[in-house]
Amino acid sequence: MHRRLLFVVLATLLASLLAVSAAAAQDPITLRITWYNDGTEGEALRAALDGFEAANPGITVSIEDIGYADPNIYHSTIQSQVEAGSPPDLARVNNVSLFIGNYLDLSTLSANPEYWLESFSPSVLDSLRSGPEDSGVYGFPLQFTITAPFINRTLFEQAQVAVPSDSNDAVTWDEWTAAAQQVAEATGTPWAIAYEPRGQRFWGFSISEGGQWFNEEGNFTVDTPGFRTAAEKLVSWTQNGLSDPQIWANLADGPRIAREQFIAGQVVFLYSGSFAVGGLAAGIGETFDWSAVPNPSGPGGSTGSPGGSLLVGFQGTQHPEAVAALMDYLVQEDVLGQFSIASSFLPGHLGLAEAGLDYTANAEILQALSAEIPKINEQAYKLQYSQFAFTYNRPIDGRLAQVIAGELSLDDAIAAIQKDVDDAIANVNAG
């Protein structure tokens, strides 16, 4: 009696443990995409995947949304899995340099590698490669992003202030600041400017003000007059009450607060980017008119910061052929076009970008943003596609937040950013 009971108990325990550990090894192939969502792109991808599954019976694809909450925990989680030798089959990534050497090479697996080389910009493909001798194809941009300002047109109308960029191609940051302030005062809007607290958003701003991010030896450098001018302006907005200090007080929440304020009509001018269009449009709906305007101009011209998340496959996958088939499917012009339209994304596909997409929603805004792409400064590209893009990025917002909180002087902050970046690069190279 007792023995039998023991047996039963042990057997159940064992069975449940086995059930837990036997998650893999199923016959029909399941591909996993590690993912996060900001707007409607998850649904759009799901629609594309349904098409793929219908065309490829036996393969199912699952989107594993793990959330992005903290700026880096998303990538750290993937990084841990990659280092543990159990990467996802595919993933949406921004910080692409983290996983170089672990990507699945599609140049041999793809049915049409030439198409990949023709369709995507060499600098994007290069950003996934380990060096000049590496000619692999590892992934494609889900979107091309460009940072840019958005304005609440309804507020401008109410204040009877002309939108500066309607009559002038090169509006400076000072002119925008003055106009936004005027509108906020006239309409009783609490804030004039909201600037997403991310280092990457700041690249374009500082370059416009004449900033030089690389010195003559090609090394990352912070202390240039352009950086100073831009940083001083940025800090002054919060100090002068034009910007909500909450945005810089909690960096994890900042971008969200900035967008929520814009959606709620509490701010006149929002500096964000094309990646925000889907979310903004969904939140704003019909409550007011808004539009994207050109990046402000300065001595360094008018430029936003480029960017974009990529979809990549990982070498560690059990099903390289299936991953390649999925990738080949997703990069087809009609599929990717459909995905971009449904997500309100600017395409990273050269053919689609050239032909232009017939957006069903937010067409005007996305067109205005597309017009920003040719103006992107070469330095901004260099920063974005550098191995250290994220290493440059993080200290900028962290240290500027300290300046705004009154902990550091701008001089100290500049020295600190330089040191943070140098230390981090030294540590990476120590390996």
């Binding site: 007792h2 009971l5 909690n250 290493t391 300290q402 909180a405 902990e407 600190a416 230390d423 390996g431």
Partner: protein, 343 residues
């Protein structure tokens, strides 16, 4: 060595019918006994201790001790690699980077300025949080120790927040404290102005402390309450007969007799306060600036979430933290012994 009759069931708790749980346990454990008895024959009674300690020790050794040892090794190595074998030895570089400061009171002069900001922030947090919490926990325990109706209810009420996850606690309070939150709505309704509770560095620090007291106080209240209830009533009566007033009864009866419990509370809450991280992070994200960045968050950011993953530097910081904690605890216990001896 004694021989053991294998199947004889010995009823030790004959005072009542075995309940359902006891019967289940019997069914489960009795067969195990049959397997273990031969083991006991082989080992002998006293060495069975090893058998009992082994499973815990194994898990503990593999998942706590070994990582700590690895962490110690990490602190002398560099690079972003995860595998210890791929990490180059850098000697005490990490420690000197961490500890190199022109002036320890002024973080800007330090190599790792954020570490030192975190150290000072943690120091302030520990001092105010622990003292605040002990005051509130003691007052609440004294109130709950009175003969009043609804004691059980109130006891549960004060304990409930202890059950909430740190992330949820942070979320709830962020929701309350943000500028458009309900607290500010109340202030505006009363004719005040909206306050920047999570924007002003000092307000932020204040609220992190308040929220952490809110979330943890119930636990310490219960421990203090147990301490209060274990004080024999006769002591109070004797003091009363001697003509001691309430204040003197507290001073000469409650306070000294509560000291051992209080010591436990102080040590436990100190240890927890030094480890402050997840709840504070969920509430403020470490900001504004670095006003609410504490040591554990610094270690976590440096070693795990920063893209350059300076695990060596983070490990060095954790070794420094561990050393400081150890000294603190030993000092506390020593101090506790001495005060105990005095009474």
């Amino acid at each position: 060595m004694t021989t053991i009759p294998a199947t004889k069931v010995i009823p030790y708790r004959t005072n009542r019918e075995p309940g359902f749980l006891a019967r289940m346990l019997e069914h489960l454990m009795h067969p195990v006994d049959e397997i273990i008895i031969p083991l006991q024959r082989a080992l002998g009674t006293r060495r069975m201790a090893y058998f009992f300690v082994l499973p815990n020790l194994l898990i503990f050794g593999i998942f706590i001790l070994l990582p700590m040892a690895l962490n110690f090794y990490y602190s002398f190595t560099g690079s972003t690699a995860l595998q210890p074998s791929e990490r180059p030895w850098v000697g005490t570089d990490n420690f000197s980077r961490l500890l190199n400061c022109g002036d320890y009171g002024n973080p800007v002069t330090c190599d790792e300025d954020i570490f030192w900001r975190a150290v000072w922030n943690t120091g302030g947090f520990v001092f105010f949080q622990v003292s605040g919490m002990i005051v509130f926990a003691l007052v609440t325990a004294l109130a709950l120790n009175r003969q009043i109706k609804g004691r059980g209810f109130f006891r549960s009420v004060f304990f409930y927040p202890v059950l909430l996850s740190p992330v949820v606690v942070g979320l709830i309070w962020k929701w309350i404290l943000q500028r458009d939150g309900v607290l500010n709505a109340g202030i505006v309704a009363l004719g005040g102005e909206q306050m920047n509770f999570l924007v002003d560095p000092n307000w932020s620090r204040f609220w992190v402390i308040v929220v952490s007291i809110w979330a943890q106080m119930g636990f310490y209240t219960l421990i203090l309450l147990a301490g209060l209830q274990s004080i024999p009533h006769e002591y109070y009566e004797a003091a009363h007969i001697d003509g001691a007033d309430t204040w003197n009864r507290f001073r000469f009866v409650t306070f000294p007799l509560l000291m051992p419990t209080m010591l436990v509370v102080v040590v436990l809450s100190l240890i927890r306060a030094v480890q402050v991280f997840d709840q504070a992070f969920a509430l403020t994200g470490g900001g504004p600036g670095t006003a609410t960045t504490y040591i554990v968050q610094y270690i976590y950011n440096t070693g795990f979430t920063s893209t350059s993953r300076e695990a060596g530097l983070a490990a060095a910081a954790s070794v420094v933290l561990g050393g400081a904690l150890l000294i603190l605890t030993v000092a506390q216990l020593k101090l506790g012994r001495r005060t105990e001896a005095n009474h």
